[in-house]
Subunit: 337 residues, 4 copies
Amino acid sequence: MAGNSIGKLFKLTTFGESHSDFIGGVIDGCPSGLRIDLDFIEKEVQRRKPLNENFSTQRKEEDVVEFVSGIENGTTLGSPIAFIVKNKNVKKQDYNHLKDLFRPSHGDFTYFNKYGIMASSGGGRASARETLSRVIGGAVAKLLLREYGVEVVGEIHSIGKWDYASQRDEIDKDLDKIVENGDSLGGIVSCRVKNCPIGLGEPVFDKLSADLAKAIMSIPATKGFEIGDGFDSTRKYGSEQLDNWNSDFSTKTNHSGGIQAGISNGMDITMKAGFKPIASLYRKVDSIDKEGNIHNVENSGRHDRCFIPRAVVIVEAMVALTVCDHLLRSFTNKINR
Amino acid sequence: MAGNSIGKLFKLTTFGESHSDFIGGVIDGCPSGLRIDLDFIEKEVQRRKPLNENFSTQRKEEDVVEFVSGIENGTTLGSPIAFIVKNKNVKKQDYNHLKDLFRPSHGDFTYFNKYGIMASSGGGRASARETLSRVIGGAVAKLLLREYGVEVVGEIHSIGKWDYASQRDEIDKDLDKIVENGDSLGGIVSCRVKNCPIGLGEPVFDKLSADLAKAIMSIPATKGFEIGDGFDSTRKYGSEQLDNWNSDFSTKTNHSGGIQAGISNGMDITMKAGFKPIASLYRKVDSIDKEGNIHNVENSGRHDRCFIPRAVVIVEAMVALTVCDHLLRSFTNKINR
Amino acid sequence: MAGNSIGKLFKLTTFGESHSDFIGGVIDGCPSGLRIDLDFIEKEVQRRKPLNENFSTQRKEEDVVEFVSGIENGTTLGSPIAFIVKNKNVKKQDYNHLKDLFRPSHGDFTYFNKYGIMASSGGGRASARETLSRVIGGAVAKLLLREYGVEVVGEIHSIGKWDYASQRDEIDKDLDKIVENGDSLGGIVSCRVKNCPIGLGEPVFDKLSADLAKAIMSIPATKGFEIGDGFDSTRKYGSEQLDNWNSDFSTKTNHSGGIQAGISNGMDITMKAGFKPIASLYRKVDSIDKEGNIHNVENSGRHDRCFIPRAVVIVEAMVALTVCDHLLRSFTNKINR
Amino acid sequence: MAGNSIGKLFKLTTFGESHSDFIGGVIDGCPSGLRIDLDFIEKEVQRRKPLNENFSTQRKEEDVVEFVSGIENGTTLGSPIAFIVKNKNVKKQDYNHLKDLFRPSHGDFTYFNKYGIMASSGGGRASARETLSRVIGGAVAKLLLREYGVEVVGEIHSIGKWDYASQRDEIDKDLDKIVENGDSLGGIVSCRVKNCPIGLGEPVFDKLSADLAKAIMSIPATKGFEIGDGFDSTRKYGSEQLDNWNSDFSTKTNHSGGIQAGISNGMDITMKAGFKPIASLYRKVDSIDKEGNIHNVENSGRHDRCFIPRAVVIVEAMVALTVCDHLLRSFTNKINR
């Protein structure tokens, strides 16, 4: 069943496999009259690119975003905003040795079982390539949020077992190590929504926290989501977790992460996204063929060793899309607008 | 905007405030021909009740579930299954001293700002009472899953900082302590889906993991969600996280938690839900009135001290609803069924 | 698949078979702060009742509507508004002679084939009884529209081949005739939305006209829908159909029926709904059993002979629900609200 | 709010204005394993082109459809199928004289009021150009239906006041007349679904007839919809409208048009779509500017005089999309598949 759209009022649909002619998306529900800052969108797209070769892929992605509808003279019309990006450097032969093999901890096996078709190469929809459409959609969402003064800011929280802010040396050592070993590293990305209006989130199932969780957990390789103090709060007493009031209705602490009962309370919304290390390694691993025979082969052609730096803008994008959707949804809360 | 439904093909809509005449729900999309085992549903409802007074509320919830449509001679008709449960013991005066006060870390403030109306008492839709409808809906989902051999099993993973399986004495001491101090405790519930068919989950946004995250994070007081190894996997090398194949396409380990690229792979689906301690304490806390004045008052009439035992069946219910929805969604994957 | 909800922002879900314990519905997405005028709702429910015995059913429907959630002190809370109505006088034996028979031009056969279950009696969800939930939902929608000055007014356009306004005598003769012959009559209901704001309707698929068509054509026994001049306009030249401008942006004529390109233009929205005569007759008809044998038997216990007068409020309800949904949807059209 | 998608399981989203760089669409939910016959799709696209100059536009639409994702080696992957078509011959100056004018009976005024932006030219989303995406989406739907033996066949029923089958001479005279007068003609398109499985359609709101009505009424210029005998049935007695049984569960007549109680009964599904004559005339008409001044000017650059022949394939497309969606929806009707 159709599952390639997210959002109810501000809705992004993405399309494209890692090796199709184009990838792209359609934003339906963006209000008219929004100025589209193409420079900003280009910068967001750049942020998704590898920082250096230790961290990430050597794949060249010269991503030129074409907006093909919904915008005239730099302003949204209220009609669907479609965009496409040409997939360059598509070399299916890079993956030929993997033909008919299911890699361990990859989507090959599940996709094949679901659809009855072996992805030709490179991951199809399961590829990180697909996240480019999310970043573009998220950039438009950020532009809309900016009109309302809302900002979404992500950062690296940790790489591997190391805190990013205070342990850069350890991280560098680990990165050297994974290059040497053909291994990979995951990490945690934190994200913060600043100046979010009070009242976003729709009880009881479409809570803002619930929709953020879904948006984040739809990013490839995510294994965990936390809002506010997250799992730490499970280990505290209730009295330690109360966010006491200031007289301006802000709170002295923000254990709850800006959301109470699924609805934003005006404090910063804080969350974390946990990513496992990528399963594609630069070494031989045991893949399996359709008959159940194990083959020890190179994993694939090219991929990130540690994509956490690239993940920041993707997390931001998913958060922006979600907050934007809920912002529009909130317009019908009360009868007296 | 409407947010009280979950699921696309197997859809539960819930209604009712903690102090309305009834709470209840409507299941739309349940296939016809399902035997409804009322004893099982009653048992599920019982599992949501307090185990003992240390743990939970003294509120008597003699919950009699009435199925009012969609079932004839014990079998579903394919039409919407509606159920209602009378709210007994509704004593609004228990909350009178809280009238016009926003409790700390509660939904009072966010609900008021969103809807412009002060919840009369007891939490309205934000109350734990609402989860009863989830348990009933989840019980029907479990019956449907049972037809396909799928089982959903939750258990307490931890209470406060203590592991449930190995540290019961510590937990008992902590429970004594919170009774003495009028405090509260949270914890973690784990859940496992056994015998899940391969192929459930819809790329790229409606991944099974993403929809499970949303379902779990829509439960009151949830602060975190993990699938498989969760945040632990962020601290490992990729080589440590590979789930290597057995020749029958099962895997030797299950770090990924039964889901690859958002699609079930046939292994047990494993996840965790983190709950903060409830914010209602049996002691005075600082609430705030609409003018911004702080009042140190008793928090409320009755509530759980530690609802983790009750949360197990609620987690299971949300998982069952989600898997059930995706099971039905999977029926249209391929052209040659 | 779930199909018992209508509307995206103002969403009505209905439940209940003709012979279940209750029928009812849930309105999700009604803004908070709406005064619920129970007298008005009661009057709407009364309008759905038979006018006289020639026209309609002898079935006594003493319909007491209970609103069980979502309303406090007569005002909506923003949470789901659930309502139930007890089904009285449920005598399943009235239909016993029809057990295992498919009546001609009824839903018996299609329901059985779809769901694999023989409706016990009286039509199940296909019964006119279900429309009561629509009328109640529609009444709430009308109250919301009233806040915005919008009014929905239906009337009988024709009964059988006779124009209702000018041919009452002919109609009375026909009604006598169908009583005598155990026959039935259909007709056409027209409906008008007055003072509809400009700008409702969402291109390109959720046009206001398209959603009105769906809403109307979901009423039992509808066979046709027209907006504005409808099929008559197909027989005119374009020059005869232009709605020329007045300088206040109203139009001198209203051939288009208040909608241009799927969006309301501020003129009255005018439409017609065509109903076939009910298939249940007070005479023997040829029904068929599961083995394909024809049985000439009485059609059923009780039913309308001509339900057109009752249909007016049902048509209005569906129109009100649709306009209400689009009113809320229009709140996110532009960025500068 | 987002309104550019149709279908729940087989979902088409379209994008593109008449003068944007591309128009196109995304089909989400098409099962994997469907062979895509590009020749067939090309033929469908050709059927949408003008038959001769009397009938239709001189605009050259050399429409080359590019499928950019979701298909590999001619077979669907189960992922979203995106397609784009370059808009050629975009001459915005053709419409310059209409800048800032609202044409009578056009979407200019309603679009401007809804979105606050004056469509630059040519109708934007309201243009007939948009229907090309429907035809392409519909062609894919037809390919899927073909796998199940279902066929969708439309034809011209009438042009202006003349029956198409028996009055071709009158029609030719009328066409000559509108060319001479710069006028336009509408008409009626009938459509038939052959070999539709029994059981499609979801009570009570997503009836097959209701969703067909919506799909048809979302086509530009539609003013009426009928199923089976349509409005004619309102003028008959019930006894004249019964579809009596054959012993194989087919019916001797098909007044109901293949649908009972919103669910297909296995007979041909028959319907009609009524189109008003296009409002763009080849003569001066009274348009209005934003200040309310009337201007008698040429209506626009190029357009159809009678688009009924082109409408056939568009009607078929909308019907195919709807039936296809309901076919997939029907897969979850019963528990024992």
